[in-house]
């Protein structure tokens, strides 16, 4: 794709904009920011999902019983949507089997179980001292080898995103440090303590995607992180932009709007505008991968919630069970109501805490009743429109809700259900306590199921009609064999061979086939081969 419709982002004076809608929930970040980012003692066992991101495609390189060293590659990616996984510490592989992971209850995935030996023996790393002289391609290769995925939550493989960005041509790289969701403080802690590394990571990302311009975007209510960034950026061409602190500014589409004022067109990505968005945590992982030669084996994760005695940010190894981290922070079981993975607005409740931390886990909230009080019962929607005021996609959640309840799929699509980013702002403000996001998620699932069902029913309908046609055809040919003198006047049958649509399968097709078959049969009969009736082609093939 060419860059003809780009908007000269490199030379434009940019100022922060407001996103559509948005809410200002209480941040709840101070508790976990009281201490510095802490290293973590080794857990007895690590559980490493082979596919860290639901779309990825990797296969294991090790087998049960293997001894592995820290940083050793455990999986290789099978295609560009995959990302390599490395051993976070040394130990022995005890099992490669399905284990529960975060998400909906019953979610399970193939995981490598690594019994830690406690020695932390590692492969030798190869730091790169002159990282500022690397070419874009070299940086990209190192990122790819390190198995970095987006640390913001979606977990898209960073190397693949960069490759796409190079294909599209990138004019602006945005480092997303907005971190607008309550409770999560990983980026703020990271920037406060390691701003220099993040800036180097941003430089490396900029080199890799050849972007002429880079902006680090952060919400204005994080003064310590901003001060650290300012000093780290003193001699850097990278710019800093302070955004309004509104949830969900940190969403990819929203941060593009907040920084440039542009909207990502429907069905497209920021790449189509010449914009690449990466998370600050990703930039830090890139720094580690390129400058220190370290694969992505750990990430910073916020442990917070009133059930913890000492909330803090950990540099946690990938695969650490959530329960181990909670115990390190002194979880008080008697007050512990529920554990949420993610922030308080988009996070998911964990069915149990044995699930592992993955490369995309940014926060664990051990909540008490005070954190998340039992919601009031759901009341009727009074169409107050509060939800529409806060929707960052400018949808009408109240209308979507009524269509979702009545399963009105046409209207759901026409009112933009597919544009819903499930940020939860609508349900946050709903005075009737309606779990709107759950309705939308269910409706989206319904629409997907329906479209699959529609495809399948078309397929089977075609098959059935073909079966009917074939049976009839066999009967006909049998009858013809009984009356060998009855020759069909071939020239009277339709011979028109116009393309046939799936909708009118079909008599037309059948007649066509019959005509052909009859012609063949006649020809054969004439050549005294009447017993050798041929089967026609499968109609589905003819359809193409």
């Amino acid at each position: 794709m060419s860059s003809t419709n780009f908007l000269h982002l490199p030379h434009q004076q940019l100022r922060r904009r407001k996103i559509f809608g948005g809410i200002k929930p209480a941040p709840h970040k101070a508790a976990s920011l009281r201490s510095r980012i802490m290293p973590m003692p080794l857990p007895p066992q690590l559980i490493l999902p082979i596919n860290q991101y639901h779309g990825t495609n990797s296969s294991p390189l090790v087998k049960v019983g293997d001894a592995v060293l820290k940083y050793q590659a455990l999986t290789e990616k099978l295609d560009h949507t995959g990302a390599a996984l490395h051993a976070p510490t040394s130990g022995r592989i005890t099992a490669i089997c399905s284990a529960p992971i975060a998400g909906h209850p019953g979610n399970a995935a193939l995981c490598i179980h690594l019994q830690c030996d406690g020695d932390d023996n590692s492969l030798e790393l190869q730091p790169c001292l002159n990282h500022d002289q690397l070419t874009g391609f070299e940086v990209l290769r190192k990122i790819d080898a390190a198995g970095i995925v987006g640390m913001g939550g979606a977990g898209f493989p960073t190397a693949h995103k960069l490759r796409l960005a190079i294909e599209h041509g990138t004019e602006l790289l945005i480092i997303n440090a907005a971190e607008c969701e309550p409770y999560i403080s990983t980026d703020e802690a990271l920037l406060r303590e390691r701003a220099r590394e993040v800036v180097i990571g941003a430089e490396l990302l900029r080199t890799a995607c050849h972007a002429p311009r880079c902006i680090i975007a952060i919400e204005e209510d994080k003064p310590a992180a901003i001060a650290a960034l300012r000093s780290a950026l003193a001699h850097s061409p990278i710019e800093l932009m302070l955004l309004h602190s509104t949830y969900p500014t940190g969403g990819e589409k929203q941060i593009v709007q907040a920084v440039t004022g542009l909207e990502v067109p429907v069905g497209q990505y920021p790449l189509n505008l010449g914009i690449l968005v990466h998370n600050a945590g990703t930039a830090y992982a890139v720094y580690q991968a390129v400058a220190e030669g370290k694969p992505s084996i750990s990430r910073i994760i916020t442990l917070t919630g009133r059930a913890l005695q000492t909330p803090k940010n950990f540099e946690a190894l990938i695969g650490t069970p959530a329960a181990f981290l909670l115990k390190l922070c002194g979880v008080q079981e008697q007050h512990h109501l529920t554990t949420v993975m993610g922030g308080s607005l988009m996070g998911l409740q964990l069915a149990h805490t044995e699930v592992p931390v993955t490369k995309t886990t940014n926060c664990l909230i051990a909540a008490t009743v005070e954190d998340f009080p039992q919601p009031e019962p759901e009341l009727a929607c009074i169409r107050c429109g509060f939800c529409a005021e806060v929707c960052p996609a400018r949808l009408l959640p109240q209308q979507l809700y009524s269509f979702a309840r009545t399963h009105n799929h046409t209207q759901l699509q026409s009112y933009g259900l597919d544009d819903c980013i499930e940020c939860g702002a609508c349900a946050y403000v709903c005075p009737s306590n309606i779990p709107l996001v759950q309705y939308y998620v269910a409706a989206k699932q319904d629409l997907r199921t329906l479209s699959v069902a529609r495809e399948q029913s078309e397929h089977w309908q075609t098959r059935f009609q073909f079966h009917q046609y074939r049976t009839k055809q066999e009967k006909d040919s049998a009858r013809e064999r009984r009356i060998p003198t009855a020759l069909f006047p071939v020239e009277l049958l339709p011979t028109d061979s116009s393309p046939i649509t799936s909708v009118q399968f079909s008599r037309q097709l059948a007649q066509q086939e019959i005509a052909d078959a009859v012609a063949r049969a006649n020809a054969k009969r004439i050549s005294r081969l009447a017993t050798d009736t041929q089967m026609p082609q499968h109609p589905a093939k003819d359809k193409e």
């Binding site: 589409k253 409740q349 009074i382 169409r383 996609a393 400018r394 009112y415 005075p431 009737s432 779990p435």
Partner: protein
């Protein structure tokens, strides 16, 4: 409830539907207090009666629909309906009038359509209009605030005597000796200053209005004026609490003021009335802030709300000036209710990332 935590926000903003409804009731207080001062206890009796009937009918409707009454009664929406209905009917209306009106509002206009959130029309206004059609005389018979006009007897509404008279008006069966009280109630049609404007353009009240005289006197006109200011205050409180958005009330008030200012001519006020009369001598403020903003039956899109207010403002003025009803807020609001779904459909905001109007893109999708 456990399901509740699995997805979507674990955190919630504080205001709840039942609190919203209560705030609306509270916001009526200044207007109601002023109305009580001028028109006596009848208005409070109306509110009390209407609320009792409303809660009873709501419980009945919920029972008939096979729902458990407790959570739905707690949403307080029926109280708002009752209060708004009570404010529109004449003070000191008999109990059967109040009961039948609110009964229609709750049972038919609200629950027959599916209950809270499903009713296409404002229930309070439906109840009012049904009564207006069925009992036109009762619905236009108002207490006289200061009834020296009548044969020599003085009548102060805000007194024990006033309370007694109001009670008798509401429950005529209480006392046999109602004969001495009847003249104050019956046969005296005095709705709003608008009726004066309509039937006797040069009456004293109207002149007082036109010359801004006697603001604090207990004349009917000034009562209405202060009462409207009370509702305006309540409306501003609702705006401040962000319970209603500014679009509908501002749109209605601007429309009514603009049309009445355009058509106002100093010497023909008997025909069109002054902007002052239209805004403060009628039910405009109550309608703009409390009735038209009922979220269930109003438009919900931003632009839709503005057009909705514009339509209501135009019809309020037109019905008053060229129509044959005295005040027109109820009819205008119902008219707006009719238009609301269409307005919402036409005024959908452009979704993030969509360039063209949705209809176009939907058509293109169908083509694909």
């Amino acid at each position: 409830m456990a399901m509740r935590y699995l997805a979507g926000p674990q955190q919630h903003a504080s205001i709840a539907t039942n609190q919203i409804m209560l705030q609306v009731v509270y916001a009526c207080a200044p207007g109601v207090a002023i109305a009580t001062w001028y028109f006596g206890f009848g208005i409070l009796l109306n509110i009390l009666l209407a609320s009792l009937f409303a809660v009873a009918f709501e419980a009945l409707a919920l029972h008939l629909r096979g729902l458990s009454p407790a959570p739905q009664l707690q949403d307080n929406s029926v109280l708002v309906t009752a209060v708004l209905f009570a404010l529109t009917i004449p003070p000191g209306s008999p109990w059967w009038l109040v009961g039948s009106g609110i009964g229609f509002a709750v049972l038919i206009a609200k629950h027959a359509f599916g209950g809270l959130g499903q009713n296409p029309f404002n229930p309070a206004m439906c109840g009012y209009l049904v009564l207006l059609l069925a009992f036109p005389l009762d619905m236009t018979t108002w207490h006289v605030p200061n009834a020296q006009l009548l044969d020599g007897q003085s009548f102060t509404p805000f007194s024990w005597n006033g309370l007694r008279q109001s009670l008798l008006a509401s429950f005529p069966f209480l006392i046999g000796s109602e004969s001495t009280l009847a003249p104050y109630i019956d046969g005296l049609a005095l709705a709003t200053p608008l009726i004066e404007f309509k039937m006797a353009g040069t009456s004293a009240i109207f002149t007082a209005l036109d010359t801004n005289a006697a603001v604090l006197g207990r004349a009917a006109g000034t009562g209405w004026e202060l009462m409207n200011i009370g509702y305006l205050m309540g409306g501003l409180y609702l705006l401040y609490r962000r319970i209603i958005s500014w679009h509908i009330p501002v749109s209605i008030i601007v429309t009514v003021s603009a049309i009445s200012a355009l058509l106002y001519a100093p010497h023909s006020f008997a025909i069109y009335g002054t902007p002052y009369l239209h805004l403060l001598g009628s039910a405009t403020m109550l309608g703009a802030f409390f009735i038209a903003t009922d979220p269930v039956s109003a438009a919900t899109t931003t632009r839709g709300k503005l057009v909705y207010g514009l339509l209501i403002g135009c019809s309020i003025y037109s019905i008053r000036v060229w129509g044959s009803y005295l005040d027109s807020v109820a009819i205008a609001v119902l008219f707006g209710n009719f238009c609301a779904p269409l307005l919402d459909h036409l005024c959908r905001p452009r979704i993030y990332g969509h360039r063209k109007s949705r209809r176009l893109s939907a058509m293109q999708e169908q083509d694909r």
